[in-house]
């Protein structure tokens, strides 16, 4: 996916002034977090499960090579094939080769963030293969030529009225000409179009929520059942997955599944949780003739053993963004790459470069709500701070900011000078506040006064007054 993170501030500005985006994202506050809180309150062992999940993921990451190789052995034993890809380019080529071998003209796709990272759709289109997104949200944004604004609700930024217009404009060629406003009617129209696409597709591409080492199975969770049709109807199924999705056993997958949907949507389980193992066997009633797993690294192995390894525990549930006041304000697209919200702020600098994504870990008040709800306890604010430190060290942070902090630190380390400076500042600012007791314009603090008044100091500092009182023998 094209990277636009450098323009974060501008994109945030536009989002803050876009009525539709504000309307769409204001729903986030009252939807997912409320449902999650309810689901969590109904599972007393939820926090213990989070500890178990954190420990499990740490164990996996310490033995990642072993579990990935075990997974490959099992896939091969079942008659499938694993393709190891170190970059997006390798992964795209692996998918293309499989599609070409299958003489594919159309492919159906289940929701997958890794294929967003790889820009798989535009790549396949260039090669003359038509990709069709089957998750309703993904289908909507594919029609609109947009990118996901949320990792589990990709069309969150779209209002119902916009979808009405979009379907009206694009569905005419299928014989649908009515302007539908009822959400269920819109869903039904999309479904009836997709139904035939499933049958016609030569290849089905899905992501994977988990890869199970002991059985060589892939697991996907959906609420629409589109993933099942995508992976079982076409002759070829390709599961594209990043390397950190592997888990040792079926039991381990169920530990994580108990956290995943609760954290994401507040459901106990997603409507569909689908395990698939290898291609269709002789006595299977359905399933693909060929089964491939494209394993993508794309920079992840660099995180293993680093101070940011915790990022690889991510289950992609979206709880961090659902609870993030910054995400709620600026929406998903402002972040300028696949992952928005706190996980994007912490992960994207690794994936697209700190210079490109410098704003993301900075645009946080460190309120800590993301870490509080993360099902695998990723210390997101801590990792954002590590990026800020790296940006400061490498002089990627803007010069005025670095110099400002340097100057302030110079005084702060010298109490006598600091007293002198704060004494002067308190008097000056008090005078500027006048009878109103507040200042509406401060040249050096325009970031403050562009939005708020500055409550004026009361005249003397605490330390001055304390010294005077002590001197007077209080």
């Amino acid at each position: 996916m094209q990277v636009e993170s450098r323009r974060f501030k501008k994109q945030a500005h536009e989002a803050l002034h876009d009525e539709n985006i504000q309307k769409a994202f204001s729903k986030v506050k009252t939807g997912f977090p409320v449902n999650r809180a309810k689901a969590v309150s109904e599972l007393p062992e939820f926090d213990d499960l989070r500890d178990a999940a954190r420990d499990l993921k740490n164990h996996i990451l310490a033995h990642l090579d072993f579990y990935l190789e075990t997974f490959e052995e099992q896939v091969t034993l079942q008659g499938g094939q694993v393709h190891w890809c170190s970059s997006y380019a390798e992964a795209r080529d692996a998918v293309l080769k499989i599609c070409e071998a299958a003489n594919a003209r159309t492919v159906t796709k289940g929701k997958s963030m890794i294929t967003e990272e790889m820009s798989l759709n535009s790549f396949l289109e260039e090669k003359g293969i038509e990709p069709i997104e089957t998750d309703l949200g993904e289908y909507i944004i594919q029609l609109a030529h947009e990118t996901p604004s949320h990792i589990i609700a990709p069309a969150l930024h779209k209002t119902k009225d916009q979808v009405t217009e979009l379907f009206h404009e694009k569905h005419g060629k299928y014989g649908f000409h009515e302007r539908l406003t009822d959400p269920q009617a819109l869903v039904n129209e999309a479904r009836s179009i997709l139904r035939q696409k499933y049958v016609d597709a030569d290849v089905g591409i899905t992501g994977a929520n988990f890869l199970i080492a002991e059985t060589g199975s892939t697991v996907i969770v959906t609420n629409e059942g589109n993933g099942d049709l995508t992976q079982s109807l076409p002759k070829t199924h390709i599961a594209v997955s990043s390397i950190e999705k592997v888990v040792p056993t079926l039991e381990d997958a169920s530990t994580l599944l108990r956290l995943l949907a609760r954290s994401a949507t507040g459901q106990e389980m997603s409507v569909y949780t689908t395990f698939s193992t290898g291609p269709r066997r002789a006595d299977d009633i359905d399933g693909p003739a060929a089964f491939h797993v494209v394993l993508v690294d794309a920079g992840r192995s660099e995180l293993v053993g680093s101070d940011k390894q915790d990022l690889l525990r991510c289950l992609k549930c979206g709880a961090c963004m659902n609870h993030c006041p910054v995400y709620q304000a600026v929406g998903g697209h402002s972040y300028g790459w696949v992952y928005p919200g706190p996980i994007g702020a912490a992960l994207n600098p690794q994936m697209v470069g700190l210079e490109e994504a410098r704003h993301l870990p900075n645009a946080s008040s460190f309120c800590g709500r993301c870490e509080e709800v993360c099902p695998v306890r990723i210390p997101l604010p801590k990792i954002m701070r590590l990026w800020r430190e790296e940006a400061f060290e490498k002089q990627i942070a803007p010069k005025p900011e670095r110099w400002g902090i340097g100057l302030w630190a110079f005084f702060t380390k010298r109490p006598a000078l600091y007293r002198l400076a704060t004494g002067l500042a308190a008097r000056l600012l008090h005078a500027m506040g006048g009878r109103r007791g507040r200042i509406s314009k401060l040249p050096l603090l325009s970031g403050w006064t562009s939005v708020r008044d500055f409550p004026a100091p009361l005249g003397k500092t605490f330390m001055q007054q304390w010294k005077e009182q002590k001197g007077a023998g209080k």
């Binding site: 600026v330 900075n362 430190e389 940006a391 702060t412 708020r452 007054q465």
Partner: protein, 258 residues
């Protein structure tokens, strides 16, 4: 043993840079409350700031130097108390992280970190204090700062203390765990996003129709008060210490004498 039940606790007040510069009355309210709770108060003269602006800007070196300075300034007291969850949280949780690879400092860091408290939790949990003969005929809503709430686990303590203020009617706001958008330098660097966050917060606070807003952190209070004033609201904004010490009669934040 540093302090027994009967002997007064030697408490060093960490004034905090914002209280020192902009609203010393909060510091004096804290002194009054701590003295009423039976503590002997000292104010180390060499204190300045906890170092958060540097720490959160990625200037780890300056943050460490400032932290080392604070550690020296606050050696030898039974407790260190700050009228701020944010500054107390910096010392309690982030100083140990700053010096994690520095064995020579670890003992001093841990000693300071373990004896550092946010004011209302210290009064309530350590001193078992409850205000007496304080009256304020007013309705009040409360903002939990993120570091008080999530880092220092301060939530029930200020509410329990406020229950002892006669005439005070307490009103909880919707979505009270949400950030006000202050975030230190965040509100300067990303002022538009901060504006949206503080407006959401303010809408919830105003919906309580309370006369006053209190909180335990001056950063949040300056942000909310500054925005309230900009929006033309007359909700009065004070620090919880001022309410508890019976010192909330004067002008609130951003209000003139007249």
């Amino acid at each position: 043993m540093s302090a027994s039940v009967t002997s007064p606790k030697n408490v060093a007040l960490f004034v905090t840079c914002l209280v020192d510069l902009t609203r010393p009355s909060i510091g004096f309210a804290a002194v009054k409350l701590l003295e009423q709770a039976g503590c002997t108060i000292m104010v180390p003269e060499t204190q300045t700031c906890c170092g958060q602006p540097a720490y959160n800007s990625g200037d780890r070196k300056s943050a460490k130097e400032i932290a080392a300075h604070v550690i020296r300034a606050f050696e030898g007291y039974d407790y260190v108390v700050a009228p701020s969850g944010s500054c107390a949280g910096m010392i309690r949780y982030h100083y140990p992280a700053l010096f994690a690879d520095d064995d020579t400092m670890m003992v001093a860091v841990k000693t300071l970190s373990e004896k550092t408290y946010e004011l209302t939790s210290f009064l309530h949990d350590v001193c078992g204090y409850a205000p007496e003969d304080v009256t304020l005929a007013s309705s009040l809503t409360y903002h939990d700062s993120c570091s008080s709430l999530r880092e220092m686990k301060v939530e029930g303590q200020p509410r329990a203390l406020l229950k002892n203020v006669e005439g005070l009617e307490f009103r909880e706001a919707e979505d009270r765990a949400a950030c006000c958008g202050f975030g230190g330098t965040f509100c300067l660097k990303y002022s538009e996003i901060s504006e949206s966050m503080v407006d959401t917060k303010i809408d919830n606070l105003l919906a309580t129709k309370a006369d006053m807003l209190a909180a335990g952190d001056l950063g949040c209070l300056m942000n909310i008060a500054g925005r309230l004033k900009r929006r033309g609201s007359d909700m009065k904004v004070v620090h919880v210490a001022e309410v508890l010490a019976g010192m909330a009669d004067g002008p609130g934040l951003g209000e003139g004498e007249g």
